[in-house]
């Protein structure tokens, strides 16, 4: 009797679950669904507080900004999105007048009267910017606006008197941020801000309807209300996000112009057709690589990056093309540069490494970047020779031939002898701070340690968790530290150069505490300059100053390898554009045919 009882208890949950054995119900549907694996969960969809890549990837499809980048053209070109045209800039470069498109409506949402989205107005931008300035809202994006717009910093001061973000009176005027009328926004600046238009392409500057903030309050993070081509249908936190077509999206068409090679690649075939093409977008959070890879191979994901362990299965690195295994499945490979920089930084305030340039240079030349690339990134990333990325207009290709970054152990040893003279004896034990203690970080740390130890130095690795690492970095408590990331959101190189300016000492970006009055003078000069040959000369001068003083050992820059199925049309990677999904089209017939192809190919695999 006991046995029977156990059997029934065991089977009960399965029996009770409806539809337990039904399979793949959605596959007969003709609607175009774009399924995208997210390797990490999305924290927030509130544009004022979104900062991570994956949050941007989702929210940019829902909330639009004033400007965007042309999807196909290279070099990257800013074009209007919610703005009617590019801004009218005053002669002193301090006043921007922006006309906003008429007839743009927010998505239908319960926050609006009658749940019907209202028309977008210039005031919605003013509100969004003021909200980011509100101290009590605690936006992580305030740094982008600080000391830029006349009166906005005063507005931030004013908000400090309140206990709650919702008590702040947003009707208080900010002289530099005015809605002249419903369709005209005027921004007045403290000093020229040549990157403003680039910065206005980001979803963090998207308009926010005040009704939504009043209605959802703290839950605004799960209820984005925008004007974009998609709207949030469902968000099961930590599981998946589903976006559906926004029925009230205005008429936007696929671009008719592109880069010279785009027509041949079939990227202009849909020119003039109304956007978006895809009916639904499903972002599924899959943190482990194996399930994501298997789903992709089975045709249940349209696109994905290549897991490290499957790289050789997917790519013939010598020929830089997909392997036969991938080609048989009509899967395509896209290789594109990511504007990023990974490095080993020196704390310039440290009494040992900060005051000893030959020591920093010795460590730089003792660091084998090619080996690092080979060992950790299958040799597919780019070895960095400059703080600027090759995608940036000011990048100087000649820099790679200059003697700043090359691996040269002999030279390193000679420099170390110089360094020991300055130190007045042997170099004491060096400590390298690394974030994380996972196997990858440990292996990376061991590699760094071995490189430095090849000079006969004693090196200690300090593996800490992320908050401790950041705290130590911001307080200048690391001696040497590993760092980097995808930190450049626009093609303008000023952002990366700010990492070495004295006024941006950590936590604002200069974690090296590098301070060079000549560099600062040039930075102040270049900061207010619009792109020009003169500015390029200054940028390159600054770049060489940094490479000469060596506050950082440059390692690698990410190269993105993406696989996508043959049924995905119009895909072209863009490092600065997050809302590319509206341009993508899915050939549903080919998508369905893939299932049979995959079945046939699987049968051929020997067990």
């Amino acid at each position: 009797m006991n046995c029977r009882l156990f059997i029934w208890i065991g089977l009960l949950p399965l029996v009770l679950m409806p539809g337990c054995w039904t399979k793949d119900a959605a596959s007969d549907d003709d609607e175009a669904v774009y399924r995208y694996p997210l390797p990490t969960k999305v924290k927030t969809l509130d544009t004022g507080n979104v900062e991570d890549v994956y949050g941007m990837l989702v929210v940019s499809n829902i909330c639009e900004s004033l400007y965007t980048y042309h999807y196909l053209k290279r070099p990257f070109e800013v074009i209007p999105m919610l703005a009617e045209s590019l801004p009218v800039i005053s002669d002193d470069k301090l006043t921007y007048t922006i006309r906003i498109k008429q007839g743009v409506y927010f998505q239908d949402d319960p926050c609006f009267p009658g749940k019907k989205g209202r028309e977008l107005k210039a005031e919605d931008f003013v509100f969004a910017f003021k909200r980011i300035a509100n101290t009590r809202y605690a936006s992580v994006n305030w740094g982008a606006f600080k000391d830029r717009i006349i009166g906005l910093d005063d507005f931030r001061e004013y908000t400090k008197q309140f206990k709650d973000e919702f008590e702040v009176d947003y009707s208080k005027e900010v002289p530099g941020l005015l809605a002249i009328d419903d369709y005209t926004l005027r921004i007045r600046l403290v000093k020229p801000w040549p990157q403003l238009v680039d910065d206005l392409t980001s979803a963090i500057t998207a308009p926010v309807p005040k009704e939504a903030v009043d209605y959802y309050r703290k839950d605004m993070m799960t209820h984005p209300v925008g004007t974009g081509p998609y709207r949030l249908k469902k968000w099961a936190r930590s599981v998946y996000l589903e976006l559906e077509k926004n029925p009230s999206f205005r008429v936007e068409t696929y671009p008719a112009e592109g880069a010279p090679e785009d027509a041949a690649a079939g990227l202009l075939a849909d020119a003039g057709r109304r956007l978006p093409f895809i009916d639904r977008i499903v972002f599924q959070i899959i943190e482990e690589e194996q399930p994501a890879w298997l789903l992709f191979l089975r045709g249940d994901m349209e696109i994905m990056g290549i897991p490290k362990d499957s790289f050789n299965t997917a790519v013939d690195i010598q020929a830089e093309c997909p392997t036969e295994f991938i080609q048989q499945r009509h899967i395509r490979l896209s290789i594109s540069d990511q504007p990023s920089l990974y490095y080993i930084g020196f704390n310039m305030q440290d009494p040992v490494v900060g005051r000893n340039k030959p020591l920093r240079q010795a460590l730089n030349h003792a660091f084998d970047k090619d080996k690092l690339n080979e060992l950790f990134y299958n040799g597919r990333w780019r070895v960095a020779h400059s703080v600027m990325h090759p995608l940036m207009n000011e990048y100087d290709p000649a820099i790679a031939r200059e003697p700043y970054t090359g691996y040269d152990l002999q030279k390193a040893k000679w420099l170390l002898a110089e360094a020991e003279k300055i130190q007045g004896g042997p170099i004491p034990e060096l400590t390298v701070g690394m974030s994380g203690s996972d196997p990858f970080s440990r292996q990376f740390g061991q590699f760094v340690q071995r490189q430095f130890e090849s000079l006969g130095l004693k090196v200690r690795m300090d593996f800490t968790d992320w908050p401790t690492y950041v705290e130590k970095m911001n307080k200048g408590q690391h001696q040497i530290f590993g760092g980097g990331g995808n930190r450049f959101s626009t093609p303008d190189a000023l952002g990366v150069l700010s990492m070495f300016a004295t006024k941006y000492f950590a936590p604002l970006g200069n974690s090296f505490f590098y301070s060079n009055p000549d560099y600062d003078r040039l930075y102040d000069q270049a900061e207010v300059m619009f792109p020009s040959p003169e500015r390029t000369i200054i940028f390159r001068q600054m770049e060489r100053m940094v490479l000469e003083d060596c506050p950082v050992i440059l390692n690698t820059q990410r190269v993105q390898y993406i696989l996508y199925h043959g049924w995905l049309e119009n895909y072209k990677p863009h490092p600065y554009l997050y809302d590319i999904m509206k341009y993508i089209r899915i050939d549903t017939d080919e998508q369905k045919a893939y299932k049979n192809l995959e079945k046939e190919l699987k049968q051929k695999i020997k067990p």
Partner: protein, 397 residues
């Protein structure tokens, strides 16, 4: 029995207090202030301060002092007077010490005393402490009590736990909602997995015990040891690749548009197989202990069938360790399976726990630890009570 249960329930109080104390030390004192992590790498001081306030990191750890009520100027002058007196007192002490030192060493010169290094903060604290006790002495204890600020991180920690209002996680979602949402998927994975393992391992254990010493017994024991030696992850990776991808019998990952039952079949089976080795060996040992008893020989001698002897008599007498094992496993069933949920995308509590660990979300970890501790304490009591149910010889005195 009622008295026993009441007594055991009362034992829960110090256990719960202890758990809360340990979680406070682990997640608040050692874990530290994670406002920088929430605010992002380049956040300014004001944003960090606001986030500290939002999550209560700016509150005193245990107890603090509230700002004084009344005339600020009077308080300030009294405070300054106190600090001055304290400094003078220290100076005198140090001068006396220096004189004693000189006398002892036979030196004629007394080392001059440096300005006493009394930190402003320390002095303020001492002044407040002095004021507090002065008020207590003046029988104004009510007023003194008001000065103590109980709005601290320690009190908030206990309040959150006892009211089951755990606040918001790092991603600003309510922790209660997260936990409630995770229980269903976790249970739908772990209950079939657990009972499946239980039924299969007990049945096999009975048979193996019956066939003890034979080649079958040895073969199964070897298989069990082999199964136990293989890492759990290898079962998952192989099962997912072979049964879900190659054979296409099951979904590879939780599909949001499919019922949960469809997605948990494969992980539940993998969990069953992975857990079979250790379980089977455990139950085999129990069965062997029972099967060697006299009553079994008697039953066989009386001509009962092997099935009747094993399933009716042996199984019934082996129920105490089985019940203990089953009841004590219930809290872990609710908590789900960390690896299976992560690899198969089951949005349960195991996944939530894994996620909280990797993102250092101490708020979620704290809530889950507390709930788990309560469940374990409660089900330990249930297990004790169940002894009496399965074995009439057990009495509660």
């Amino acid at each position: 029995m009622t008295a026993y249960i009441i007594r055991r329930l009362m034992y829960l109080a110090p256990i719960v207090f202890g758990v809360l104390l340990v979680t406070f030390v682990l997640f608040t004192l050692i874990g530290g202030d994670i406002s920088q992590q929430i605010a992002g790498k380049h956040a300014d001081a004001e944003t960090i301060a606001e986030i500290r306030h939002e999550y209560g990191f700016d509150k005193p750890l245990f107890v603090g002092h509230k700002p004084l009520e009344g005339d600020e100027a009077v308080w300030e002058s009294e405070k300054e007077g106190f600090i001055l007196a304290l400094k003078n007192e220290r100076r005198t002490q140090m001068e006396e010490k220096a004189a004693r030192k000189a006398e002892k060493s036979g030196s004629r010169t007394i080392e001059p005393v440096k300005e006493p290094q009394i930190a402003e903060y320390q002095a303020k604290k001492e002044w407040l402490s002095d004021l507090f006790w002065k008020r207590v002495r003046d029988k104004q204890s009510g007023q003194a009590w008001e000065m103590v600020d109980f709005d601290s991180q320690f009190v908030a920690h206990f309040t959150k736990a006892f009211t089951f209002r755990f606040g918001r996680a790092l991603d600003r979602e309510r922790i209660g909602e997260k936990i409630l949402r995770g229980i269903g998927p976790s249970v739908s994975l772990t209950i079939p997995m657990f009972f499946g393992t239980l039924i299969v391992s007990i049945s096999f254990a009975l048979v193996v015990a019956f066939l003890r010493g034979t080649v079958w017994d040895h073969a199964i024991v070897i298989l069990c040891v082999a199964g136990m030696s293989l890492p759990y992850l290898s079962f998952i990776i192989f099962g997912q690749y072979f049964f879900a991808y190659r054979l296409d019998w099951f979904p590879i990952f939780y599909a949001p548009d499919q019922p949960m039952g469809y997605s948990v079949v494969l992980p539940a089976m993998i969990g069953m197989v992975a857990g079979l080795g250790s379980n089977l060996r455990f139950y085999r040992t129990i069965m062997l202990d029972e099967i060697r008893n006299d009553y079994v020989r008697t039953a066989f001698a009386k001509g009962l069938t092997a099935r009747r002897v094993l399933f009716k008599h042996v199984l019934k007498n082996a129920m105490i360790p089985i019940v203990t094992s089953v009841v004590l496993s219930i809290p872990y069933l609710i908590l789900g399976s960390l690896l299976l949920e992560r690899f198969f995308g089951i949005p349960g509590l195991g996944y939530l726990m894994f996620d909280a660990v990797s993102s250092r979300d101490f708020f979620v970890l704290n809530a889950l630890t507390f709930i788990e501790a309560l469940l374990i304490a409660f089900f330990t009591l249930v297990a004790d009570v169940c002894y009496a149910w399965v074995d009439p010889r057990v009495k509660f005195d």
